[in-house]
């Protein structure tokens, strides 16, 4: 599936959360959506997921509008992982992951073999299979985040929109989650992940979309993340280097002179 947002404008009161954003994500792409706090990343994710009403512009899925596609089909084809996800009841881990199969349910029938297979695959992929019989409240923040990621994976959608999927994870599980998202993309689904770790973004993603002040200030392969872009987006100088042929980029200090947005 290809999601295309055109001239998306979202205002909260006087504030422009998105000031005319154009972006398109296709199948098999692994995209990092990065930018400072308040840049509009979450709003753009909600726009792409069809959750956020637009003041202007439109979102199209393979050229069709969300209404034309219908709630059910949109839910089966686009999975959304909310930031800092929550669960209001202490469900068991496998039941919670099973909620990702709701878009595939049929009236008056229990979970199908495909549902069970998808739940198992998602539990294993997110490395939470051993927690399956625990309740969510008995887990740490990072374990909970992985369970919620497994829930999103269980949808087996053509497009996975993950808002800060690695924020709560320890370093090993951050690397594991990024590798997992990349393998989801290699298997043909489009993946968009909101990230704050620039190294994870440039190492694991095919493409970066840099958002600042509700606008896209850079969009392209990891090489678009130049010092100028980092300074303009975050107001920091970055330390760069390479290890075993892969780039890393570490925010080091605030820039001395604020750089205007390009």
């Amino acid at each position: 599936m290809r999601i295309e947002a055109t001239n998306a404008i979202v205002r909260f009161g006087e504030q422009n959360a998105l000031a005319g954003v154009d972006c398109a994500i296709g199948p098999g792409e692994m995209v990092a959506l990065i930018g400072p706090n308040g840049a509009g990343k979450t709003t753009l994710m909600r726009v792409l997921a069809g959750l956020q009403p637009l003041q202007a512009g439109e979102t199209r899925y393979d050229g069709r509008g969300a209404r034309d596609l219908g709630r059910g089909e949109l839910a089966r084809r686009v999975a959304f992982l909310a930031q800092g996800g929550e669960a209001h009841w202490p469900l068991r881990v496998d039941h919670l992951v099973g909620l990702g199969r709701l878009p595939h349910r049929r009236a008056f029938s229990g979970p199908s073999a495909a549902d069970h297979a998808a739940i198992e695959a998602a539990l294993a992929a997110a490395d939470v299979a051993h927690l399956r019989a625990r309740t969510l409240r008995a887990l740490s923040g990072g374990e909970r985040a992985r369970v919620l990621l497994a829930r999103a994976l269980a949808v087996e959608a053509e497009m996975l929109l993950a808002d800060e999927p690695v924020a709560a994870l320890d370093p090993l599980h951050q690397l594991g989650a990024m590798a997992l998202l990349r393998s989801v993309a290699r298997n043909g689904a489009g993946v968009v992940a909101v990230l704050h770790d620039l190294t994870l973004a440039v190492r694991f993603c095919d493409r970066l979309i840099v958002l600042a002040g509700g606008r896209v200030i850079a969009d392209g392969p990891p090489s678009v993340l130049t010092d100028a872009v980092v300074a303009a987006a975050y107001g920091v100088d970055a330390l760069r280097g390479e290890h075993r042929g892969e780039p890393f980029i570490v925010p080091w200090a605030a820039t001395l002179t604020p750089t205007p947005l390009p």
Binding site: A49, A75, H88, R92, H95, L96, H116, R132, V155
Partner: protein, 337 residues
């Protein structure tokens, strides 16, 4: 395939079946137990053969309406409690606590008072349902989407106080002290001296309410993950809210209009059953309906067996048991928070 998951899926239906069986047993016990000895089978035999014997009369005129209403009203209260707790994602939501029952009682009192009750027979249940709709909408306007415990309780206090004041106003202005007395006793909630025609009037409303509430099960499950995620799973939350408000109003409004306000069943029953269904809000609905029916029938049998006269009103008994329960629950939630 996950063996544990399949085991949990399988454990649900025996639980539902067991509670359904218990509901039938409690209904039968409610037919058999009373102030006069009644051989239910002999009475049923008389009814089947059209003999207007004394046992047949006791069964059809007294016991059957009481047992059937206990079953249906209890089911309504338990189911509505579970559904409201799922929608508001708060274990304290209950038609009585949040004011929906109070609104329904007010609606029914207005119908009594205005004389509409005599004008056409459906007026009473419809009045109850209308009062419940108004209260449910007011609740929704006050608490918004996700209700914090405090907001929910305060909104319930507000609605209950206002509905109570208007009910008191109706009593205050009542031209006939005997009618006021009548309304007051009715408000305490009871299954005594109801008739089969009253059941036939309220039952369709309750059945429609049950269907609406039960149809929301998958959406309530999805709502566990919050509104955005539930929407992304394909559920229309605006429609869900409307369905649940309408379903609650029909189920509780119909029930309250016949029996008066009976509180706390919808609070206590889902809370006790929730761990047995793995805290899944969708799975909680049917079992809470059965649980509510069992609880109400048991309480109604208990008031008949207690050596206290005049007989205790059912609403009084459920409040005497339920209020300390609510107290304990608030205390626990406060310590967990």
């Amino acid at each position: 395939m996950s063996a544990a998951l399949i085991r949990a899926e399988r454990a649900y239906w025996p639980l539902a079946a067991a509670l359904g069986g218990l509901t039938l047993a409690a209904t039968f016990a409610s037919l058999a137990i009373g102030y006069v000895h009644l051989d239910v089978f002999a009475a049923l035999n008389d009814v089947a053969h059209g003999r207007a014997s004394l046992p047949a009369l006791v069964l059809v005129e007294l016991r059957l309406p009481r047992a059937a209403l206990g079953c249906a009203v209890g089911f309504s209260l338990g189911l509505t409690g579970a559904a409201m707790q799922g929608l508001l994602r708060n274990p304290l939501a209950d038609p009585g606590v949040v004011g929906v029952s109070g609104g329904a009682a007010l609606g029914a009192v207005v119908v009594f008072y205005s004389g509409l009750a005599g004008a056409f027979s459906l007026a009473l249940p419809l009045g109850g349902a209308a009062g419940a709709v108004v209260a449910a909408l007011a609740l929704y306007a006050l608490v918004g989407r996700v209700a914090g415990t405090m907001t929910l309780i305060l909104a319930g206090v507000t609605i209950n106080t206002f509905a109570g004041a208007l009910t008191a106003l109706a009593l205050n202005l009542s031209p006939n002290p005997y009618a006021a007395f009548e309304i007051m006793f009715w408000l305490m909630g009871s299954l005594v001296d109801r008739s089969l025609p009253q059941l036939w009037l309220a039952l369709p409303l309750m059945l429609a309410g049950w269907a609406l509430l039960m149809s929301s099960a998958p959406a309530l499950d999805a709502l566990t993950l919050g509104e955005d995620t539930a929407t992304s799973l394909g559920f229309d939350l605006k429609r869900l809210r409307l369905t649940l408000v309408a379903g609650s109003a029909l189920a509780v409004g119909g029930a309250v209009a016949v029996t008066g306000a009976i509180g706390f069943v919808g609070l206590v029953v889902p809370h006790l059953l929730r761990p047995l269904v793995g805290h899944r809000p969708g799975r909680l609905l049917l079992v809470s309906g059965f649980g509510g029916a069992i609880a109400l029938l048991a309480a109604d049998i208990a008031v008949r067996l207690l050596p206290i006269h005049p007989e205790l009103k059912l609403g009084v008994v459920t409040a005497l048991i339920g209020a300390p329960f609510l107290f304990g629950l608030i205390d626990r939630l406060r310590r967990e928070a």
